[in-house]
């Protein structure tokens, strides 16, 4: 009986192993393909902003600091805000470049966009969902069949020279928070605005502020206002008349995790042990 088992068990094992051998190429090639697709897309348009962790101080006051180039550039297309009146059908800013960094405590996000003129009313904003409930990308507009959550808006205006930390749950509900956690600094040169927003990754007001856990994805959206005045002295873009983006993703990268290597090492050890036992059994069976 044992003799027979000694034959059958390894037969099945070797058969399965042959199939695995043949297939080992398959998952590998599938992975390569998806990585290539992602790369092709990122040259056209990004789906997420990834903030690497940096050692040393974040360039909170310096949109031109060299360390920004260590963050991957994300690029998002912008549309005029058409969802809700008062809408506009054409906006100045058509593309937004975004980079982000964090140091484990604070996060810094750099927005960069082309604007032909520097105006006191030029403004930019970043929007996040707050809590677990989904919020509509247009200011957290109420939804008919889904209970939505609020949005957290970080707003910067050139003439104010600072950021406002705000909440909204639909157009017309914008409210400045009593506790201001966001800082912002803008710099204009050669027809390009660069604006840095900074905030602690987490705050004590989880019901109003978005909380950024390292390694996790949160939803992010952007808005830009061209504060140029037209011939009649009216602002070209103001309030709901602005360039907006859809929801995309933001992630503060987690510190490097080496546990995958340990698991792999463990698996290699187990496989070696399996082979050792198998061959020993085979040899025993042969001599018996």
């Amino acid at each position: 009986m044992t003799q027979r088992l000694n034959y059958i068990v390894p037969t099945v094992a070797v058969g399965a192993w042959l199939a695995m051998e043949l297939l080992a190429v398959q998952p590998g090639s599938a992975e390569e393909k998806s990585a290539a697709t992602v790369q092709a897309e990122s040259t056209l348009q990004s789906v997420s902003v990834s903030a690497p962790m940096v050692k040393g101080a974040l360039p909170v006051d310096d949109p031109n600091a060299a360390v920004w180039s260590s963050a991957t550039l994300a690029r998002f297309p912008m549309s005029p805000q058409v969802h809700w009146p008062n809408r506009i059908l054409e906006a100045t800013v058509r593309d937004l470049n975004v980079r982000a960094l964090h140091d484990g405590t604070n996060v810094a996000i750099l927005l960069e966009y082309t604007d032909p003129t520097e105006d006191p009313d030029d403004a930019a904003a970043i929007q996040f969902m707050v809590g677990d409930k989904k919020a509509h990308f247009a200011h957290g507009q109420p939804m008919a069949q889904v209970e939505g959550g609020p949005v957290n808006i970080w707003f910067w205006k050139n003439k104010d020279g600072k950021a406002l930390d705000m909440n909204a749950k639909g157009f017309g509900t914008l409210k400045v928070q009593t506790h201001q956690d966001v800082k912002a600094k803008g710099a204009y040169a050669n027809g390009t605005w660069k604006v840095v927003f900074t905030r602690p990754l987490s705050t004590e007001h989880a019901d109003e502020d978005t909380q950024i856990a390292q390694g996790g994805f949160v939803n992010i959206a952007f808005a830009v206002w061209d504060g140029k005045k037209d011939a009649s002295g009216e602002l070209k873009e103001k309030g709901s008349q602005k360039a907006v983006s859809s929801w995309w993703y933001f992630r503060a990268e987690a510190p490097p995790d080496y546990s995958g290597y340990y698991y792999a090492l463990l698996a290699v050890g187990l496989a070696l042990g399996f082979q050792f036992v198998l061959i020993r059994k085979l040899k025993k069976g042969q001599s018996a």
Partner: protein
């Protein structure tokens, strides 16, 4: 190694080639996912094993070469190959383990239903506006004013304001959009907009305005007629 082991290996190779290269080229077929091919190959392998172990002789014929390969002495080049296999197998196991535990850089995948079911009160409504060249023309005028900035003057979803929106505005000339839907469905979508979608439609991502706050119903029905006519599509009917 004997011919009895060569045959199963060739068989597995043929099955793999058929699944990978022949099946996707059969009209109406599609490339098989890797997990399905793996499952089929496992089934083939179990079949081979069952077949080979049916009788004592066939079992020995199948098994002896393997045993000789794994434990035999003085088998020349095969011995080198054996150590290669014994080295490669643990490495492959390790690599598979690493790639399955490595954290993904990809954001969460999204599975959005493009045409979710409408609420009951919007099913089976018929267009109350008589379909005349005049009303269609009016509808096209309203479309040009309110819809074309995103959905495009050519009804192709490529209006000047469309670029930033994800999901992109619907392309009405695509036969998988309004041609698949009834007029009452379009009435619901235009009236309630993106925020009126059920949860599987991910309403929080849609830029479609809630036109009921700005346009009378009659205009919406005319827009629907203008849309079908302009996109050279006909509404779906149940006849």
């Amino acid at each position: 190694m004997g011919g009895s082991l060569l045959k199963p290996v060739i068989l597995i190779g043929i099955v793999y080639a058929i699944l990978k290269f022949v099946v996707p080229n059969i009209p109406g077929s599609a490339p098989l996912p890797a997990s399905l091919i793996f499952l089929y190959l496992m089934l083939t392998t179990s079949g081979i094993v069952i077949f080979a172990t049916l009788s004592g002789e066939s079992k020995d014929a199948f098994w002896n070469p393997i045993q000789r390969f794994m434990t035999g002495e003085n088998i020349g080049g095969l011995q080198v190959l054996r150590y290669g296999v014994l080295l490669l197998f643990p490495l492959m196991v390790g690599w598979q383990t690493y790639s399955s535990t490595a954290t993904s850089d990809a954001p969460p995948s999204e599975n959005r239903t493009i045409h979710p079911a409408p609420p009951g009160e919007y099913t089976g409504l018929s267009n109350p506006v008589p379909k005349t060249p005049d009303t269609i023309q009016q509808g096209k005028g309203f479309y040009a004013a309110f819809c074309s900035p995103c959905h495009g003057g050519n009804f192709d979803g490529k209006g000047p304001a469309a670029r930033g929106f994800n999901p992109p505005p619907a392309n009405f000339s695509d036969p998988t959009t309004i041609a698949m839907l009834q007029e009452s469905y379009l009435f619901w979508r235009i009236k309630k907009g993106g925020v009126g979608l059920p949860i599987e439609g991910m309403p929080w991502k849609s830029a479609m305005p809630r036109w009921e706050v700005e346009l009378p119903d009659e205009w919406i029905w005319k827009i629907i007629m203008g849309e079908y006519d302009g996109a050279h599509q006909a509404p779906r009917t149940w006849e």
